[in-house]
Amino acid sequence: MKKIILVLMCVGLLQAKIYRSSLAYFDNGGNKDKELLALLQKDDYYISGNVYLQDKKDIKVQKKIFSEPDNPIDIENLPEILVPQWDKTLPMFIKSAKVFNNPVSAYQGLFIINSFYGKQSKTKEFKELATVLYNNEKNICMSHIFYGEIFEKGYNTKVDKQKALSIYLEADKSMICKGWESSVLGGRIYKLQRELK
C-alpha cells in the first residue's frame, strides 16, 4: 500500500512539473518518455522560463495592437494589454535547449519567437531551437515545419529549398500533421514544388 502511495506521489510530482504552457508540446505529439519527464524536473532553465512565464507580478503593460490599414483602430482608447515577460523567459528556454538539449524548451522558445518576436529578428536563435527540436522529436509536425523553414528561408544558413522540401515531405509521409498543420505543410510543399519545377 505504501509503495502504491509512493508511486502515485512520484507520478503526481512528475506531472506537476509539466507546466501548463508546456502542454502543447505533448498535445501535439511530443513523446512523454521517462527521460524527458526526468529532465523537466532537473532542468532549472526550463523551470525558470516557465516561472517567468506565469509570474504576474512584473508583467509588462503594452498598448500596442495591430490595426488593419483600411480599418484603423484607435490605439489610445484601447484597454491595456498585459503580456508575459518574454525578455526574461526566452533566454531561459534558449539556455535550456543548449545546455540540456531540452526539446520542450526548444518548442516553447520557438513559440515565443514565432508568435511574439518575429522570426526575422531572431534567426540565429530560431535556427538553434528548431535544430534541437527536430533532432529530439520528429513526432511533432511543427518540428518539421520549423526545421524546414531554416533552409527554405535561409535562417543563419544558406537557402536550400530542396532540403527544405525533403524535410516537409518527410512530415507529409509520416502523416503526423493534422488539421491546420497539414494545411500549412501542404502550402509549403506546394509552393516549393512549383518553385523547383
Binding site: 498535445d27 501535439n28 490595426s67 494589454i81 503580456v83 529578428s121 497539414s182 502550402g187 506546394y190
Partner: protein, 468 residues
Amino acid sequence: MSIYFKKLISLFLIVIIIPTQIFAKNNISHEIEIENTLHIFSGWEGKCVSGKKWDSSYMSDPMTIMSYAMMAYNSYTQVNGTSLADEYGAWSEGVSEGAAASGSTGQAMTNASSSSSSAFSNSNGDFLGITKMDIFIVRTAMVLAAPEESDYDLADRLMKGYLGQGDDTAAQAYNTCMASIGLSFPNMLGWSMDENSTSENLKAPYEHPLRMTTEQLASIATVFGEDYVIENYMYNTEDNILLNVIALNGHSYIKAGEVICAGIKVSKAMAHKNSKSNSASGGGKGMAIAMMAVSMICPVCGFVLKVVMDLYSNMLASINTCDNEQDAMEHSMLHYKTHKFLSHDQCHLADTYCDKESSWLGCVRKGYDYCCYDQVTTKIFAEGLKAQLNKNWDSCVDITVNDLKDISFRSCREGEIAHINKCFPMGKYDEFQKALFKQATKGISIEGLTEQVINSMAIDTDHKKKEK
C-alpha cells in the same frame, strides 16, 4: 391681455414675414404676384407608422428563394440518407475536372486592375477565378454551420492569446499556425504600421498559396459575401482533399489564414466579434446561434424555424416609428425626422389611414400623416389660421400672404366658430401664448435658432430628393 397678444403676434410677423417680403421685393420683378402667393407658416409632410412590419419584399429576393430551396433540399437529403457532404465531393470533383480541362490557360482574373495580381496571373496561369456557382452550394450549406456559444468563448481565448495573454493549448496552436503562414502578431503590427517590416506572405500574398477546403473558402463568403471571395481569391486543385488558394491582397490573406487556423465556426465568431455592427445586437446573435444549433440537430426543423423566423422578423414583428426612435431610424430618414419633431410637439396630425392591409387580418399597420413645423409656435399659429380660413390638412403649405388679409387676431368668444365669426380659435390662442411664454422663459439662443433653420433646410432637401 388681447392687446398684449396682438403685440406678440406683431413681433412674430416682424420676425417671420417682413424679412421674407423684403427678400422677395429685392430679388424678383413680379413682386406683387409673388407676395400674394407666398407661402407662409409652411410645414413639411411627416409620416409615421404603427402596427406590424408586414414587409413581404424579402420573399421576392432571389437569394432568399435560393437559400430556402437549398435548405429544403438539404433537409430532404438528410432525411433520405444523403448529405450535402456528398454535394461538396461532387462539387470538388467538378472543380478538379474544370481545372484539368482549362489546363494552363486559366481564367481571366476578376480584378485585373491590380498590377501585382496581374503579374501573378501571368506567371501562375493555372489558377482560376472563382465564380458564383463555385461557391453557391457550399456557401448556402455554410449558413447552417453558424458558431455556437462555445465557439464565441474559444474565439475570445484565441484573440487574447494572439496578443500574448493566456497560454492554453488552443491559443498556442492558433498562434503557431498564424505565425507559420506569416500572420504573427509582429507581422500584423508591421503590416498595419509599415508594410516593409511585415512578412513576405503579407507583402506578396499571391506568391504564398494556402491549402484550404472548399468549405473553408466558402465560409469566408458567408461572412464577407460572395463578391468578396470572387474578387479576392483564385484557386486550383490537384487533389480532391484541399484547394490551393491564393489571396490577391493582404486583407484577404489574413481572412483565409484565420479560417485555416481557427476553423470555420471560430473564425466566424471572431469576425462577428470584430464587427462593430454586432457589438450592439447580443439578442440577435443568441437567436442566430439557437437557430443554427437546431438546424444541425434537425435540418427539417431548422428549415421550418428559418422560415418562421424570417416571417416573424419581416412580417409579424411590431413597428412603431411614431414613438420608437430605433424603429424610426431603421425605417427611413423621413420617419426619423417625424419622430423627432413629434417628440417636441411640432407636428399636427393631418390624416390617419391603413398603411398595410391583410385580406385575412384586416388592417395590420396604421399610417399617420403629419404637418410638421420647425417651431411649436409656427405649428400653433398655422393650426389657428387654418381653422379661421376653413382650410383642411391636405396640404402643409397652403397659407399665403394673401390669406392674411382676411385674418383677425381677435380671440373667439364662447360659442363662436373661427371661420364663420373670423376669430382666432380660443384654444389655439391660449396655446400660442403658453408656447411663446415657454420659449421666452427658456431663452432662445442664436444656436437654437440656427439649428432650427438647418433642420428646416434639411427637410426641404429631403423633400426635393423625394420629388425627383
